[in-house]
């Protein structure tokens, strides 16, 4: 599937969710909820926003996408496959012996993976370094970093936020997947991030908040980025989005579906 000529993003998102479900079920892998909450943003990025091409993955002018919340990589891999960065065989090398893809991504530019992630709190710093290099080289590429809300517990992320503001990295776009649940519970009960918009604003960032499952809102946010500031899009999402019994439920941070749950989930996603 090529970028830009796919009219039905919703259909694509549904297909991606089915792929995620299959990958996770077959390999009994964790993080289905975290993967489902970022499907729309990934589809929006890879089919409309990012200037990247699987035919030219090393192009110095390519946009950089960083999945800082590396644990949600089933969604990332599924979208990379739809976009032509991973073949079906390569995708099926997820979480198996002698496979290509682990349960957290490893740097692999050929397949469109810009950084190694899986430890939270790394991605925004690396993205800021890439954005700084882009400025120094007067390059036109942009750097997009997708973070989780739980990841904002990590102090290094706030170090990177301050750095990006100090150096006016207006070519850096952060996105926070606010699915409101982290590994062991709801973020508000662990480290309450609210008011999250104000926090970013006070760190010098231009903030847009959207429904992270609404393509129109997502595209509008990308169309109204601030020209002179680093930008962040706060994506209000639902963990486990798309499968009713997984939605907003801590259980599905780790749990892979059993046979019965798998069948029910397929049914829901196929409606």
């Amino acid at each position: 599937m090529k970028s830009g000529n796919y009219s039905n993003y919703k259909e694509l998102a549904r297909s991606v969710r089915l792929t995620i479900l299959r990958l996770i079920h077959e390999t009994k892998s964790p993080h289905i909820g975290s993967s489902f909450s970022i499907v729309e943003i990934l589809v929006a990025l890879y089919f409309k926003i990012l200037k990247v091409s699987p035919e030219d993955p090393f192009n110095k002018e390519r946009d950089r996408f960083i999945l800082s919340k590396g644990h949600a990589c089933p969604a990332f891999y599924a979208v990379l496959h739809e976009r032509g960065f991973l073949t079906k065989d390569e995708l099926n090398g997820f979480a198996i012996n002698e496979g290509l893809l682990e349960q957290h991504p490893s740097l692999d530019l050929k397949h469109g993976i810009e950084i190694t992630s899986g430890s939270l709190g790394h991605g925004l710093s690396i993205g800021a370094g890439m954005a700084l290099a882009g400025k120094l080289d007067k390059a036109n590429y942009k750097v997009y970093a997708l973070l989780s809300d739980g990841e904002l517990n990590e102090g290094s992320t706030w170090e990177a936020m301050m750095f990006a503001n100090q150096h006016t990295l207006n070519n850096l776009i952060a996105m926070v997947d606010c699915n409101k649940i982290q590994a062991l519970g709801h973020t508000k009960d662990i480290i309450d991030l609210n008011p999250i918009n104000k926090k970013w604003e006070n760190f010098g960032w231009h903030v847009k908040q959207v429904n992270g499952h609404n393509f129109n809102q997502i595209f509008k946010a990308f169309n109204t980025l601030h020209r002179d500031k680093p930008n962040v899009i706060i994506l209000q999402t639902v963990k486990g989005k798309g499968v009713s019994f997984m939605e907003d439920n801590v259980l599905w941070h780790y749990r892979p579906p059993d046979e019965e749950e798998y069948a029910r989930a397929i049914k829901e996603l196929s409606k």
Partner: protein, 307 residues
């Protein structure tokens, strides 16, 4: 030593326009000249070392040749996991230049000491670990590091280190330097301990022992060939380092000896794995642990007489 290293780097930066220098808000006056010559290639990232490692990784992934500076514990211990993944695992060409090996910071106390750095950095895949023994070696290392493939940890002292070499030397990462050749005793030394041991060798000579002294400036990749060669021709082997005795040069040499069938005597001389016993300047602390010309001489003689 720091000044010599960064002056050399500044010269190199003239030709190599992709060199970028980052500091975590340390190195007072050290970078004034570099910064004024290359204002857009010097960044004080603030007191945020983990972020500095990430910035370095992002710059490196975008074609820049990055040098990061701070005092050792802040540069590599606070940030260890960022180094492990962003630099070592990804095998990026980023240089970590740490100031204050061992007790260099003396009265500033334990927070500023570099006592475990060699052990930590040596454990990381892809990481090269180099400790120049004098300002001349630091200059040579600056040059050798520029085109080097992969991350390097460089442990420097601070200021006023004496010169061992009068002129620029041939310095190859991974190739040790034999400073004196004897036959009874072999001493492997690293960094700040190399210079005082030149005089130790003279004391040993007066006592009737011919000692081989080897400057193991590269801890990783280790010059195994010289260790195996020495182990077949010497019956006493010592390692000397301003570092905890576990995990650093002594451990690295012991690993090679244990697998090479060496059946002579081997002793590690360094800092015992404890902390906070003494307060004092760097020289005082080194004296307390016997890391001096005479202190090492005494330990060697004790060992030789014991056997």
């Amino acid at each position: 030593m720091r000044v010599n290293f960064f002056r050399a780097l500044q010269d190199l930066a003239k030709e190599r326009k992709n060199i970028i220098l980052l500091t975590g808000d340390l190195g007072f006056k050290l970078f004034d000249s570099f910064r004024s010559q290359y204002p857009d290639r010097f960044y004080n990232v603030g007191v945020a070392e983990s972020n500095m490692i990430g910035i370095a990784a992002g710059l490196s992934l975008s074609g820049k040749n990055v040098y990061c500076y701070s005092i050792i514990p802040f540069l590599i211990m606070r940030t260890f996991e960022h180094i492990r993944i962003d630099l070592a695992y990804n095998n990026l060409k980023v240089k970590l230049v740490g100031a204050g090996g061992g007790f260099t910071y003396g009265l500033e106390g334990y927070t500023h000491f570099g006592l475990e750095d060699l052990a930590l950095m040596r454990s990381l895949p892809n990481m090269t670990v180099v400790v120049p023994a004098d300002p001349q070696e630091a200059i040579s290392l600056a040059k050798a590091s520029v085109e080097y493939d992969g991350p390097i940890y460089i442990r420097l002292g601070k200021t006023g280190e004496p010169f061992i070499h009068e002129k620029p030397i041939e310095f190859r990462i991974g190739r040790s330097i034999i400073l004196s050749e004897g036959k009874d005793i072999a001493i492997f030394a690293i960094g700040s301990m190399v210079y005082p041991l030149i005089a130790t060798v003279e004391l040993l000579k007066k006592a009737g022992f011919n000692a081989t002294l080897i400057n193991m400036h590269t801890l990783k990749p280790l010059d195994k060939a010289i260790i195996e060669q020495v182990s077949s021709s010497h019956s006493f082997i010592f390692t000397v380092e301003e570092h905890y005795v576990n995990g650093g040069l002594g451990s690295a040499v012991a690993e090679v000896l244990a697998e090479s069938g060496f059946n002579g005597s081997f002793r590690r001389i360094g800092i015992p794995n404890d902390l906070g016993k003494y307060i004092g300047k760097s020289d005082y602390l080194k004296g307390k642990y016997g890391l001096t010309t005479e202190g090492v001489y005494k330990k060697i003689i004790e060992c030789v007489e014991e056997v």
